[in-house]
Symmetry: C2
Subunit: 371 residues, 2 copies
């Protein structure tokens, strides 16, 4: 297969795999696609370790890193550069009523308190300029081929920095207007992501969004949201995309370090078991629908807080839920394709099956017009 994207990165297959797991990233790149490591959960020191590992296991194939530099978030105007100081200031912005709601919810489900306190770095994650920039600096010390940004156009100086190192920049867009803004700051590839995608996502479906974005920008577009099999890849390409961006698909592969409880939830879920909710980060994200997401929609809910306060509020709770094994409250990003993910396979097999089914779909389309 050949598109502007395969040419740009020297890859065989225009299949991008977003994962927080280095093993998945390396496996997909080795299989001819492009693994992209989600840096969000890592401190710069941890990210350094992950990327060094990938460098050793990727057989010289290109890979990418994904950071989250939101265009807007609470505290962006505080003028605080140190992550520690920022956390302290932001903690003061979380209302007591919200803390009480979370405690009551956990108590209701029998989840005990943690014996130790959470670390500040883990509370804030890479969701601010102050915490994402060190991740970018770490990433650019490695031979990455792509720096991707979610939640708005990346800062112009970050784009320049990447380009100066010969690194291409991608950004996720959920409207054609976003895409145009991103190209204006120098983004090389737009990931047009439909509402069915897991994680932070907009309202417009992939089917409707892709042609609008393709028509709005001159750079290559990747189709994201709802891409889990070769027919869906073919559909994305038919819509005008030059490649596909996948995420949820890799949560259940053999190489993934997905917690066993979450993996079982995904394998059993239908496509109706996700919901777009602000209960994870304060911005709408598609999550596994469960008692956690329901509680934030209930009449008792105090409403969610703006990013990054919501995750700061719940990060300790998420850890307690995970430690206790309270599966009914365990929330995480998941796209609608989880309804079709019912088997554990190797990442390599998933790539091969995508391609095989893609080719079948294209051949079938050809026959329809010949007939």
């Amino acid at each position: 297969m050949r598109t502007r994207v395969t040419d740009m990165f020297g890859i065989e297959l225009p299949i991008f795999a977003f994962s927080h797991c280095r093993d998945v990233v390396a496996a997909v790149s080795r299989a001819g696609g492009m693994g992209v490591l989600g840096a969000l959960y890592f401190t710069p020191e941890e990210l350094e370790i992950e990327l060094a590992w990938i460098d050793e296991h990727v057989d010289g194939k290109p890979y990418g890193v994904d950071v989250v530099m939101p265009a807007s978030y609470a505290g962006a105007d505080l003028g605080v550069d140190s992550p520690e100081d920022l956390v302290a200031r932001l903690q003061g912005m979380i209302p007591d009523g919200h803390r009480a709601f979370v405690e009551a919810l956990l108590a209701e489900h029998g989840v005990p308190p943690l014996s130790e306190h959470s670390e500040a770095g883990r509370v804030l994650l890479g969701w601010t300029d102050a915490t994402a920039r060190p991740q970018v600096e770490t990433a650019l010390k490695h031979p990455i081929a792509l720096l991707a940004n979610a939640l708005g156009p990346p800062p112009a100086d970050v784009v320049e920095l990447a380009h100066a190192r010969g690194v291409k920049v991608a950004a996720l867009a959920s409207t054609p207007r976003h895409a145009v803004k991103q190209v204006e700051v120098g983004v090389d590839v737009v990931v047009a992501q439909g509402t069915e995608a897991g994680g932070h996502t907009g309202e417009i479906s992939t089917m409707v969004l892709i042609p609008q974005v393709v028509d709005a920008v001159d750079v290559p577009v990747l189709a994201a949201g709802g891409i889990g099999c070769g027919r869906q890849m073919a559909a994305g390409m038919a819509l005008g995309a030059e490649g596909v961006w996948t995420g949820s698909l890799w949560l259940t592969v053999e190489e993934a370090d997905t917690p066993e409880l979450a993996r079982q939830h995904i394998l059993q879920a239908t496509s109706r078991d996700t919901v777009r909710s602000r209960s994870w980060t304060g911005k709408p994200a598609r999550l596994l629908k469960n008692a956690w997401t329901d509680a934030w929609e209930s009449p008792e809910s105090p409403g969610t807080l703006p990013m990054p306060l919501q995750f700061m509020l719940i990060s300790g709770a998420l850890r307690r839920i995970s430690d206790y094994g309270a599966g009914e409250l365990s929330t995480f990003p998941a796209g609608q394709i989880i309804g079709s993910m019912n088997q554990v396979k190797s990442a390599k097999d998933v790539v091969f099956e995508l391609v095989e089914e893609y080719v079948d779909a294209i051949e079938r389309l050809g026959r329809l017009t010949e007939g």
Copy 2:
């Protein structure tokens, strides 16, 4: 183009056009596709007139009729067969608080009362077994090729009646489970409709839904929801569909009798200007998002009533809004593709452009794998 669907109906193009306007239905059938008249708003007598007109203007080409026989609705267990008696019983089930909320909303927007009362038939529409059956009987007196049903599997005896007259039956499904149930009662074609569609719609996107439905049933599947251009048609076919079902696309064609105010709203809307709301019929339907849909989500909202009570509650209000020209309250079904509908064209030109872009998309896909 040739699929099981073109063979089944002897049509050139597997393009189905749902419209409440007879001119659109006849134009699409004459252009080689299949027009399907939405019977919902017509009394049996009116429907007879519309179908007689189509018979005279369709040049012998096949066309269809769409009815709405919901599997469940308030009053279904009352055992009342006469539409008039049913309306009287149902009117008593509408709480005064809901009537007061609608009056207050209209007063807030300066909408004056109507001088005359609404007719009973128009209050209930074809949304019950009692009101849809006479429509089916009228439809089956005409040389229709297809009887389609929304909102659940059609009653088994209606399927038998249609089959006895040589008429194929289609039904809309928003989950693979719905599709399986429909095939069990004898449906010949499943219309798998994604959440981006206008009107009554489910939660799963077209991209995710179509392969699941195609894998779940043996009958041909039409892709619906988000189909407004040839690339989207190609994507639907790539997902495994054997044709496409379109609706919103025909709201702005020259032949459509869409009120001018609504047409202007659609031409100017973006794909973010729709919302899935119960405020029209009590079941979730994608509508143009405006002050009406917002009001029903507001803290003052009394909540919506079950079908058919919600439409009975609001039908007089809708007429008053329309008569007064209160555009900010004028709600109607619209899919996300309205964001790409910016020009008025003839129905024939829309069909030809669909096919032209479809062929281009397929050829481009072929080149990608050759390259």
